[in-house]
Symmetry: C2
Subunit: 249 residues, 2 copies
């Protein structure tokens, strides 16, 4: 397998940066193909920590500045995890985040960070949508990527058929109930699907008909909140009141 | 004044897209130099709406596809507002968001959207920091940019001296009080400054000493939430309980 700049059609992807590579090894060791280092990076304690773990676990590695420069998007990338793409299943009877046609890699990464932060670990993505293995998604997730289950669905109907026990709630500016009220009633419920629309188009009528609608109280002076901010606020609002429990997870 | 690709040193910047140009005209009409249109865009109702407002208000305009292609970052940009850079002052005795050394344009734009959404309209930025007139900031704010007061400060001390009546609260993972408790006590207070650190380094000890610290309850499995998500959650949590009042602002 040749390592070259990321391409959707290839079987491998990359996780850039020490923190993200550590999460990769910790959560998806079976998917690690190799770890690449830059000579210069070996001065940093963080990067050396990765090298030690890699040696200890007998993971193939290579010190290769030119290769890293070829595949990375930013300067100062000192360590890269090469990984085989894998697939996941979503857990039944758990809270799900459902994104309809998301397109922005930074948003997906931010959403995964928030999901892990508030312990909601199942993400459904309705096509057409961004390629989740695009390295910018993994990078902006800061490693949360490897701690979330995700699955693509051809359309929303397919998702609903696979998880018939989940109550569907669509998030839209003209929703019927406010997030505050919704959270009070549902923070302890597990079987709920929180559905968010595309970054510019929001949620269509064809999706709304599947569930109840919720709005995040906000000023009329803006068109909308950013998608990842909306999801973050919703997850925070729904978090169990028992702070210690969340902090210890 | 020649219109060319954005440069920090020039006196002008650009707002891309119909919604953002409308906000520019509505909130900062005095700063509008000219509005540019692409021939093709004039088929869209949204763009035509901008053209009508521009004509009605006697704002200079030009239909110039090549110029738009030269200065824009994305294809499908049909309308561009050219604006003179301006400066703002922050209101005293109001809630402030304070960002220490922010670097990511998308984060600033998202934060401005959340600020307008939750009616907190004063933003202090401590240098070194991103150039706020960088077009990606304006674009990702979806027009909220023109509805927020912002001001740069050489360092945090200068900020504190200018607003001695504001109570400082720093947001950090090892904060003393939780956001939930903080919000219950302070949602009705006006004179508070909510301070958030740089995207990768967080808040330093030199800043912490100026105020009390707050944490957003979250799992230990992540390094941190995204900066714009943290600010969004904080503003949502602090919003006045009277939803209707916020919705009508």
């Amino acid at each position: 397998m040749k390592i070259k700049r990321y391409n959707k059609k290839n079987d491998i992807s990359y996780s850039f940066g020490a923190y993200t590579v550590m999460s990769l090894i910790e959560k998806k060791e079976d998917s690690v193909v190799k770890v690449l280092f830059k000579e210069e990076g070996l001065k940093s304690t963080e990067v050396l920590k990765v090298l030690n773990i890699v040696k200890e676990k007998d993971i193939p590695f290579e010190i290769n500045d030119r290769l890293i420069e070829k595949i990375s998007y930013k300067e100062n990338t000192y360590v890269v995890g090469v990984l085989k793409k894998y697939s996941c299943n979503l857990e039944k009877d758990e809270k799900h985040i459902v994104l309809i046609n998301p397109t922005n890699p930074g948003n997906i990464g931010n959403i995964m960070r928030s999901m892990v932060a508030f312990n909601v670990k199942n993400l459904a993505i309705v096509k057409p949508a961004i390629d989740i293995f695009y390295p910018k998604v993994i990078r902006s997730s800061m490693g949360a990527f490897f701690n979330v289950n995700w699955k693509y669905f051809e359309n929303f109907e397919t998702y609903v058929r696979e998880f018939p026990n989940n109550n569907v709630f669509t998030f839209t500016k003209d929703g019927k109930q406010s997030l505050d009220g919704f959270s009070k009633n549902f923070s302890k419920e597990r079987n709920i699907s929180l559905v968010f629309g595309n970054e510019s188009r929001g949620i269509g009528e064809n999706i709304k008909k599947f569930g109840k609608s919720v709005f995040i109280p906000q000023s009329k002076d803006i068109e909308s909140l950013n998608l990842s901010v909306s999801v973050g606020i919703t997850l925070y609002s729904l978090k169990n009141e028992n702070v210690d429990k969340i902090m210890d997870k």
